[in-house]
Symmetry: C2
Subunit: 80 residues, 2 copies
C-alpha cells in the first residue's frame, strides 16, 4: 500500500477550495485508491492511499488538476 500526503498552502482561499471540492469525493469512488481532503486554516491537505503506483498516479493527477483549477478560479475572482 502506497500513500501520498500533499499540503497546499492556499492561505485565505483554502476553505473555499475545500468546500468546492468536497462533492468530488463522492463523485467516483475507486476501488483501487482511497482519498481524503482536509482543511486546517490556510492549509489544504490531500491524502491518497493506493494499492499500486499506477492507481496512485491516476488519483493524484486527477486531484492535482481539480485543486489547481479551483485555486486558480478563486484567485482569479479576487483580481476582478
Amino acid at each position: 500500500m502506497h500513500t501520498v500526503f500533499v499540503e497546499f498552502a492556499f492561505g485565505p482561499v483554502a476553505g473555499k477550495v475545500h468546500e468546492a471540492l468536497k462533492p468530488e469525493l463522492q463523485a467516483a469512488p475507486s476501488e483501487r485508491s482511497r482519498i481524503e481532503l482536509r482543511q486546517d486554516g490556510g492549509l489544504l491537505t490531500l491524502f491518497i492511499e493506493a494499492e499500486d503506483i499506477i492507481s496512485l498516479r491516476a488519483a493524484l493527477n486527477t486531484w492535482l488538476r481539480l485543486i489547481k483549477i479551483a485555486g486558480e478560479m478563486l484567485n482569479a475572482r479576487n483580481t476582478i
Copy 2:
C-alpha cells in the same frame, strides 16, 4: 510553498530502488522544486517541495515514473 510526501511500501527491494535512483537527484535540479528521497527498511519516501502546483505536478510525475519503472525492473528480475 506546497509539499508532497509519498511513501512506497517496496519491502525487500526498497534499498535497491533507492540506490538506483539516487543519481537522478543530481541529474536536473530545478529551481522551482526541491526533491528528497529516503529509504527506511522496506519504505521508500519521496519528498517534494514546490512554489506552485504546476512545478509540484511536473516533479511528481517525473519521479512517480522513475520509481514505478525501477520497482518494476527489480520485481521482474526476481521472477526470472
